[in-house]
Symmetry: C2
Subunit: 347 residues, 2 copies
């Protein structure tokens, strides 16, 4: 088909996928037996190309809800895939491939060029090709399903936290929330501060290698998409345990550290969109974890421990302790323990 004289008014969905999202065939991914363009893609599971067990995760992102209207298409493309790679990371899985379903109000080739560039650059970095898709007209909505491989017996399940485990987080928390608050005019940062932390919101780094290295070391893991306390509580519920969190030991960037204690706590405890990993591991693994941290050049910090579920029914699964080891006043604690939820009042 002649692609030179594309008329945008008649540019159809097959052209869109072919033109913007399909890479030239190559031999870099021998386990992808069939990619974009048929009824299904085909991933090899034969012994020769053994992909281990298959980890699958799916996500739907909507303009105005998960990202700001008019978000830059390059960073949006990056972020859409990053949040899915982050789910693989939280399982310890190695990326294999992904599919993309996208609704757009109109065919904007400049937008599509930039969006696909951001998406595919991160895909290439993680050797995770796009193998299938669907495009349609509608409010801007992006749904990605991602596949990884992992030995299921070693994968980092939410349900596997053990009493006495340390609770760790990677890197620092709270910068994405700090940036969001600035955009929403909840607070004001100066331009030099913004420049330092903006990438944390717009170009999150999925901790894929960390997740892989934690296989056989960590007991449970989750990625922090909705805020540390909310996400940790999923581990606690599924593992039927409680946790103590030393809220003033949660590492944050120097930019966030320069803000008030109140703002720092809000961002590190409840801020979403960080895509760092929260994991639990036996105290016997501390040395290994420090060694992983060194190898990756990535800070890993103990921020709490797994304890029994509080006996009083009214108690939360998470107990918050300040820098003096004192339990936080109930009201303050309650405030922090609210987590973001897409069907509750928008935050």
């Amino acid at each position: 088909m002649n692609k030179q004289g594309l008329n945008l008014n008649t540019l159809g969905e097959f052209d869109l996928i072919e033109r913007f999202f399909k890479r030239a065939a190559n031999n870099a991914y021998p386990h992808i037996l069939l990619g974009i363009g048929d009824d299904c893609a085909l991933i090899s599971c034969s012994a020769k190309d053994q992909v281990g067990d298959l980890a699958v995760s799916t996500d739907m992102l909507i303009e105005g809800r998960h990202f700001l209207p008019g978000a830059g298409p390059f960073s949006l493309g990056h972020k859409c895939l990053a949040v899915n790679l982050s789910d693989l990371a939280a399982m310890g899985a190695t990326p294999v491939a992904f599919t993309l379903a996208i609704a757009m109000p109109e065919v904007n080739t400049k937008w599509l060029d930039e969006f696909s560039a951001g998406l595919l650059a991160l895909a290439d970095e993680h050797h995770c090709p796009l193998i299938g898709g669907d495009t349609t007209a509608g409010p801007l909505t992006i749904s990605i399903t991602i596949f990884g491989r992992v030995d299921a017996t070693k994968s980092l399940k939410r349900s596997n936290a053990k009493l006495g485990d340390d609770i760790w987080i990677s890197n620092t928390l709270g910068d994405a929330r700090l940036v969001l608050g600035n955009i929403r005019q909840e607070w004001a940062l100066d331009p030099t501060e913004i420049a330092l932390v903006a990438p944390r919101m717009h170009a999150p780094v999925p901790r894929v290698t960390l997740g892989q290295k934690l296989l056989g070391v960590a007991n449970a893991a989750i990625d922090i998409s909705d805020g540390l306390l909310g996400d940790l509580s999923h581990i606690l519920k599924m593992s039927e345990v409680g946790a103590e969190i030393y809220i003033d030991q949660i590492p944050c960037s120097s930019t966030l550290g320069n803000q008030s204690l109140e703002l720092k706590r809000l961002c590190t405890l409840m801020g979403g969109d960080d895509y760092e990993l929260c994991f639990t591991a036996s105290t016997t693994e501390r040395e290994k974890i420090q060694s992983i941290s060194k190898t990756l050049g990535l800070t890993l910090t103990k921020v709490g421990k797994i304890i029994p579920v509080p006996t009083e029914v009214s108690c939360n699964l998470i107990t918050l302790l300040d820098e003096d080891g004192q339990i936080l006043p109930t009201e303050l604690s309650k405030q922090y323990l609210q987590s973001f939820d897409h069907f509750k009042t928008p935050n």
Copy 2:
């Protein structure tokens, strides 16, 4: 967690998945190692639970574009999964599992009860469990990614049609378009007629078993979602061949057969949403195909054959012949050869 006293205003996305979409754990699906509720689901690919190669397809359906506003939630749930099962069928794959990402403007428990009932009934019928999902607030949008297993070397690829192949279709075509036109008041059917054909639009039957039985028999296949001529042209482009279609041999229901020749041709040639299979097979396979038809109690009809690509550049890949074997006049032929496309003028 106490689920009795759910407050809908605070019913969060985790509750939605748990309450409406999660089935009690059972041992019916030993190859699903981990289902809903973690960062990823896990599908076994180990030798013991060998799933063959993995076929993957993804789809996004939007209210007002792919289904009518206010569509009945039970049949909507059925249809969303049916269209994805149909993609597996067109590859000859056996369903393994699926994921669901859904945006809804509000939490309507009655709607969710019915939608999930329709969705999961069809899932159970095809032994295809829901293994993961994402729910969010937004305009009603449903994105499903489905997984099947198939031996990749035998799968029914679009690119494999051979010169001289017969072109077959399953069952009858055009009823879904006939119903849609009635709803849109393009034409008027009487209530008894509507009652006969309405299920073809609202509750399509994916031809999963047919697809499986065509492995090793058919050369190429596609499911008819956008209209016979449009979908067939994907096979032709990818196989670099042309086709002759005997347009008055395309089987239709007696209801559609009772309409004008013009309407009958429009619906059978260009009508989408039928989800029957169109496949090509060597003439040496006719007996086997008739035998499959008998076994399944499903009509399979030859409607054309694969021919070389026309030498004149201006010609279409598809040549339409009427009941006397005469090539249709160019203008009429052009009209039929337009296919539905989501970014072109809505039909």
